[in-house]
């Protein structure tokens, strides 16, 4: 009965429409699922901006919304990097803020007053829905199967590798950049397939948007030329390729140069040289093709081929020469660290100190991609089977992204889309094969048509080998219900487990705002640890508006965003020397660090201490990086070796080295800490060691604030002593110690000279 009712909807133009509506609703549901799974943190905690960088983006967005676009473009921020300031308008990727600003103004124009904070919090989930759609489009270009695109969209929607950077509140550049990445790739494939200027220009447009949004645009800048290069090497040069690439490169480069932060980099830095080189190569190849078609002489063509190679060699040599002479900027340290994972640790500690720049641990691949990671190679293999231009792109992308994601944790993000696409290709192939209800029961010659409907790939093979007698009656295909059901049910189970895994990972690993910490009480109820905001609120309410706060750079953006106070260094680590200065102040003794703090007009020093609560991300655990970064600039004054004991241990207890005990960071962390405990029981719960009973003595700074769980400690820098004593003497006087009268003279008299 039902067959007859449903039948009209599955046939003819009505059927096409039905399928279209079905597909649309599936896509909408995928987008909804993608958004919904990212809202854990909002529901658990509140609508709050997460982590560190998002706080700056949020602050910049507020500035943009308040002051308008041109003020934002020319923004000189005098509340960061004191006293250098930051030409913020020229040193950020404005795409994210401008996007939120446009959404904000559009909503207001529609008389929907939404707080800019909510737009910022929900931007990433919103764009993840779009990313799912872009993945659908991209995959559809790769496969003829209608299910591959939908599967890829679903994977992209919930893959933890992407969720990790796009939960609600994670208002970072990646929030919109991944959508732009996938969409640019889709447009590129489209342009390449059609060979049209329009698609190429659209691709360039979205590439420009991508450049304005994320520094990871370099990935596109290198991947597309690499794809083209591979195609040319495979002898697949075609006018389509020429038109689409030249359009994309010329327009895209112009678009990218409009971003002040990028400026002339596309023609001056080595990272962009491959795109320029391939552009030149295409002109040469195009010229050669043109001449060859005009003069059909094999010898001449060979000669020209040699000419192309010579030009390429000369151009490469010129590039090297220009790089050596300094006209073209050599590769930056971040780039080198992509090739040699040990490079950063030795040469640029500031890059190595960032946790997301560490090499990826193997379990992370499974953690972030689960089932997709083992479907991924099969998908790449499928691309080899039908190696059209766009499949070459998938292969190139897969190889490049796999390498990079192994080098740096954060580049897992660029791997995720291609893994989703490849896995979807495989799964759709499997499902198309196994999920057909029709069984080719009588595979005679007459039924070949029917068989081809059910399983196109095998039947084609059969048709090809039709001439052979043994294969006259092809039995290739899936017939038994048993194999169908078993495979399909296994796959369904895998997919369900995948969904479970994604949800679990999202809810447990990626939904913590890290500004607010959650812990469980003994009775299982949730206990919120809100020390960060408590301390920032204290700063906001109790300090002068231009009180300068010195802290390690991790907290710079948060202080700027939540406490609204000027900071010395922040997460935009553009000035290594300034960060090293702070590192030096933290790792030196009070006598050394006090003049540094005076010179930089520091009013308060903020340290993070997790000893009481067992919060492991505190400053003492990060301390060695401060030492290393400071040592990079002042190798004579700060030495990492001095912070390790004779036996090479990093200790904070009784056995800590003198340098360690004298350092400002150590003193500020453990100042008065022993007063919390009965004598002899003072314990640091992060390092798990017993602390000495006698706490450190502080002379040049005084404790101003300590949060509830001692996570944040704020110290006020004392002014110079009013009557000209040094701080140690003044502090000792305050404690009631009298100065010893020098009864006995030692050595010659010191005469006063005016």
């Amino acid at each position: 009965m039902s067959d007859t009712i449903v039948e009209p909807f599955l046939k003819g133009s009505t059927g096409r429409n039905t399928r279209g509506i079905l597909r649309l609703s599936i896509l909408v549901l995928i987008a909804a699922a993608a958004i919904a799974s990212r809202l854990f943190s909002v529901i658990r905690f509140e609508s709050i901006i997460h982590e560190f960088d998002p706080w700056f983006n949020f602050r910049a967005t507020k500035y943009l919304v308040q002051n308008g676009f041109y003020d934002f473009w020319d923004w000189f921020d005098d509340r960061t990097w004191h006293p250098l300031g930051r030409v913020t308008g020229g040193t950020l990727y404005p795409g994210l803020m401008v996007t939120s600003g446009i959404i904000y103004h559009a909503l207001r124009a529609l008389t929907i007053p939404v707080d800019i904070r909510n737009i910022c919090v929900l931007l990433a989930p919103g764009f993840s829905g779009l990313t799912a759609y872009a993945t659908y489009l991209f995959t559809n270009e790769m496969s003829t199967s209608p299910s591959a695109g939908l599967l890829a969209a679903a994977f992209m929607g919930i893959a933890p590798g992407y969720i990790s950077r796009s939960v609600a509140g994670s208002y970072d550049n990646e929030a919109i950049a991944i959508f732009l990445l996938v969409f640019t790739f889709f447009l590129w494939i489209k342009a390449l397939k059609v060979g049209s200027v329009m698609w190429g220009a659209l691709c360039a447009l979205f590439y420009g948007y991508m450049v304005s949004a994320w520094g990871g645009y370099v990935f596109i800048t290198n991947l597309i030329p690499l794809h083209v290069f591979v195609l040319v090497c495979m002898g697949r040069f075609s006018p389509r390729l020429y038109v689409s690439y030249c359009t994309w490169y010329a327009l895209g480069t112009l678009a990218s140069m409009q971003i002040p932060f990028v400026g002339f980099l596309p023609i001056r830095s080595s990272e962009h040289m491959s795109a320029l080189g391939v552009f030149g190569l295409l002109q040469l190849v195009g010229f050669v093709e043109f001449v060859r078609s005009g003069v059909p002489s094999k010898q001449f063509a060979t000669l020209l081929r040699g000419f192309v190679l010579a030009v390429f060699a000369i151009a490469f040599g010129g590039l090297v020469l220009l790089t050596v002479s300094g006209v073209i900027a050599p590769w930056t340290g971040r780039f080198y660290s992509l090739w040699d994972t040990g490079y950063a640790k030795i040469h640029i500690p500031i890059i190595a100190s960032v946790s997301e720049h560490q090499p990826t641990a193997w379990p992370a691949f499974f953690f972030d991609l689960n089932l997709l990671i083992w479907l991924f190679p099969a998908g790449v293999y499928l691309c080899f089977l039908k190696l059209a231009d766009e499949q070459v792109f998938v292969v190139v992308y897969a190889i490049l992204a796999s390498y990079f994601s192994g080098v740096m944790v954060r580049l897992m993000l660029t791997l995720t889309p291609i893994v989703c696409v490849a896995a979807a290709l495989v799964l759709s192939h499997l499902l198309d094969t196994y999920l057909s209800i029709k069984s080719p029961s009588a595979p005679t010659d007459a039924d070949i048509d029917a068989a081809s409907n059910a399983a196109p790939a095998p039947s084609k093979k059969a048709a090809k080998q039709d001439g052979l007698r043994a294969m006259r009656e092809p039995l290739v295909g899936i017939y038994t219900t048993f194999s169908k059901t078993s495979v399909v049910s296994a796959l369904t189970a895998y997919l369900l487990i995948f969904v479970l895994h994604c949800t679990w990972v999202t809810s447990n690993a990626y939904s913590s705002p890290s500004v607010v910490l959650a812990s469980r009480m003994p009775d299982g109820s949730q206990h919120i640890i809100d020390d960060y905001r408590e301390a920032y609120q204290w700063l906001r309410q109790n300090t002068k508006e231009d009180a300068k706060i010195m802290s390690w750079w991790d907290y710079g953006y948060q202080i700027g965003g939540m406490a609204d106070r000027p900071t010395l260094v922040d997460n935009n680590t553009w000035n290594n020397t300034h960060i090293a200065t702070v590192g030096k102040a933290m790792s030196s003794s009070e006598e050394v660090s006090y003049p540094i703090m005076r010179q930089h007009e520091v009013d308060y020093v903020l340290v993070v201490f997790g000893g009481l609560l067992g919060y492991s991300g505190d400053d003492i655990n990060k301390f060695l990086w401060m030492v290393r970064i400071a040592e990079g600039i002042w190798p004579d004054e700060v030495k990492e070796r001095d912070f390790f004991t004779e036996r090479g241990e990093y200790r904070v207890d009784e056995g800590a080295t003198e340098t360690m005990k004298k350092s400002l960071m150590y003193k500020m962390s453990y100042y008065n800490y022993n007063a919390l405990f009965p004598p002899g029981q003072c314990q640091d719960r992060v390092r798990g060691v017993k602390m000495p009973d006698q706490g450190p003595v502080l002379n040049t700074v005084e404790e101003a604030f300590t949060s509830e769980n001692w996570i944040i400690r704020i110290y006020k820098v004392k002014d110079l002593d009013n009557v000209g004593r040094d701080h140690a003497a003044a502090a000792s006087f305050e404690r009631g110690n009298k100065k010893k009268k020098t009864t006995k003279r030692r050595g010659p008299k010191v005469l006063r000279v005016e």
């Binding site: 041109y70 473009w73 020319d74 000189f76 005098d78 004191h82 006293p83 250098l84 300031g85 030409v87 020229g90 060979g195 075609s238 006018p239 038109v243 002040p260 093709e289 043109f290 078609s293 005009g294 059909p296 231009d546 010179q599 930089h600 002014d719 110079l720 002593d721 009013n722 009557v723 000209g724 004593r725 003497a729 006087f733 009298k738 100065k739 009268k741 020098t742 009864t743 010191v750 005469l751 006063r752 000279v753 005016e754």
Partner: protein, 597 residues
């Protein structure tokens, strides 16, 4: 009306009486109130200058320097107590707090009563050292008063002090005529530490003076506490908050007996002072200067208005003290300075050789400029300077850091932000001469491109017309630029290898050779009715020319063909002839052979 009158009266009184610039509440710590009479002239002077003097004994329980956390007095004068301590309210801690709160202290010592330990440790905190022997006093065998201390040589006569450096104001030189003598009877000399920049001696002992303990029986002093100018008789310490602290080594010099008493100096080194006459001491005037300085009656600087503004044209320069400037702005800075002199504010002028400076600094000064007096009002001088901001953005300070001995500290910091050029503040490209080649390049490229396109379109159109008139038809897509470039009339006759390849951009267009037979109507896109007449004319001319050309070619071909035909027939005739002749030859040969047999 009455309260206005009373105010006027008060103001009038205030102008008559000299009052310190920082309040007039003075506490005199005196153990025995009966001793007041000893200092009657000195204390009388103070009261006459408008100080509200309260006397308290250090033993008084109610004595307190602070009341509800605020200073209860503005100034404190401590006269040497007989007892060993100063009581619980005058501990070094409280005295330091008093200084830190901005109070001034004048401390007097005496060799007759040992200095209380509390005061000694306070002085130690300030890096002022007293002799280890409690009763040591300053003696000088060359500059003593022959009238009162001819035997003990412990009344040291000192001339009015010179300025410690030539570029420092000297408040203690009296009328400056010289010859005045200060008597320093039985005082305690101090030595000053070398580190503290806040300490300055007002009066130093003569070269031949030394510190000596009369209780010791030793005839000669082997290792004196200090000698000569190292021994400070009156020491000052001006704290960073400009609170003043003065130690007078001899309280006796303030006593009535020495105010205007007669002294006669001994013969000094090298016979100085032979035949010196009896002179009146200038202790009273000197004490007034020292006390006046300590209690902020002289040498106090006040900063009035500080202004900085943009010194460039435009409305923005009207804004005073803006928060933000741009790099390379021209800026004017001015600061108003007054000096307090006994009872009024007067314009401040630095001593010769000294200058008030402005620093424009971020981490370190980028500019250090002298400030020049521009205007002088009744009570102040306005110092000003103009300069161009450095080419460095950041958070800068306008900083006047004027700290001189005996003048209260001026440390004024005004923070401004110096921003970079905004995107629309750079000179436009045509203003920069070195950009002209690039602008020319852009111009040439644009014109070249337009000219190229125009030329191309014209050529395309003419070709299309030619093709049309010759009877060949094209679909509209064949008239696309790329296609028509390749389809010259020649090509239509014989297919070009170029065209057959796939090098054209539009893949959908078909080759012209295939189109020859297609009977599609000649709805080509280019010969539009809106074309100008000369173009049509040109096209017809072109058509005629093409037709002529084609006809000529046809004629040529037919001519050639007839020629070929002729040549062929001729050739065939010749072949026949040759064959016939060969046959003839063969027959004749055979005949010849038969005959020879």
């Amino acid at each position: 009306m009455r309260w206005i009158l009373s105010f006027l009266l008060l103001a009038f009184l205030a102008t008559v009486q000299a009052i310190s610039s920082s309040g007039n509440k003075l506490l005199v710590v005196l153990e025995d109130l009966s001793e007041k009479t000893k200092y009657s002239k000195y204390l009388g002077d103070l009261e006459a200058r408008g100080f509200k003097v309260s006397y308290e004994s250090p033993k008084n329980e109610k004595l307190a320097l602070f009341e509800l956390g605020e200073r209860a007095y503005d100034h404190l004068l401590i006269l040497p107590p007989k007892s060993k301590g100063l009581g619980p309210q005058l501990t070094p801690k409280f005295l330091l707090d008093f200084i830190n709160a901005g109070g001034n202290i004048l401390l007097t010592l005496s060799s007759s009563h040992p200095t209380p330990t509390g005061l000694v440790s306070l002085l130690l905190e300030l890096d002022i050292h007293l002799p280890t022997d409690r009763t040591a006093l300053v003696v000088d065998h060359f500059n003593y008063d022959t009238l009162s201390a001819s035997d003990k040589h412990d009344v040291v006569l000192v001339p009015r002090p010179d300025a410690i450096r030539p570029d420092v104001k000297n408040f203690f030189r009296g009328d400056g005529k010289g010859g005045e003598v200060i008597a320093f009877p039985r005082g305690v000399g101090q030595t000053l530490g070398n580190k503290s920049p806040l300490l300055t001696p007002i009066l130093r002992a003569p070269r031949t003076a030394y510190s000596y303990n009369p209780k010791e029986d030793v005839e000669g002093v082997e290792d004196p506490f200090a000698v000569g100018p190292q021994l400070s008789l009156i020491t000052t310490m001006q704290a960073r908050n400009s609170a003043r602290f003065t130690v007078i080594g001899s309280s006796e010099m303030l006593e009535d007996a020495w105010f205007g008493g007669k002294v006669k100096r001994s013969v000094g080194l090298g016979g100085v002072g032979i035949g010196a006459k009896e002179v009146k001491t200038s202790n009273q005037a000197f004490a007034q200067e020292v006390t006046g300085w300590t209690f902020n009656e002289i040498g106090v600087l006040k900063v009035g208005k500080i202004e900085h503004h943009l010194n460039e044209g435009g409305a923005s320069s009207n804004i005073t003290n803006p928060k933000i400037y741009r790099v390379k702005n021209d800026v004017t800075y001015s600061i108003e300075l007054s000096e307090y002199s006994w009872d009024k504010w007067v314009p401040f002028t630095p001593p010769t050789g000294d200058v008030v400076q402005l620093e424009f600094s971020m981490l370190s000064p980028f500019h250090r400029l002298p400030l020049t007096p521009s205007t002088t009002t009744e009570t102040s001088t306005i110092y000003t300077t103009s300069f161009k901001l450095p080419d460095q953005h950041g958070i800068f300070n306008f900083k006047v850091n004027y700290k001189r001995p005996f003048l209260s500290n001026v440390e004024e910091k005004n923070t401004v932000t110096v921003r970079h050029f905004a995107h629309d503040e750079w000179p436009r490209s045509w203003v920069i001469t070195s950009a002209w080649p690039w602008i020319t390049g852009i111009g040439v490229t644009v014109t070249g491109w337009v000219a190229f396109v125009a030329l191309w379109l014209w050529k395309t159109a003419s070709n299309a017309a030619a093709v049309l008139l010759s009877g060949d038809t094209f679909t509209s897509e064949n008239l696309s630029i790329t296609r028509s470039l390749q389809s010259t009339p020649h090509d239509t006759a014989s297919p070009n290898p170029l065209v057959s390849s796939d090098s054209s951009v539009s893949m959908t267009s078909t080759r012209p050779s295939k189109q020859r037979s297609s009977p599609s109507s000649s709805q080509s896109s280019s010969p539009k009715t809106s074309n100008p007449p000369d173009r049509v004319e040109k096209r017809t001319r072109n058509t005629l020319a093409a037709r002529r050309y084609r006809q000529r070619r046809l004629d040529e071909v037919s001519g050639l063909e007839t020629q070929l035909k002729d040549t062929r027939s001729e050739r065939d005739d010749l072949k026949v002839r040759v064959a016939r002749l060969e046959g003839e030859v063969e027959a004749l040969r055979a005949l010849l052979a038969k005959r020879s047999e």
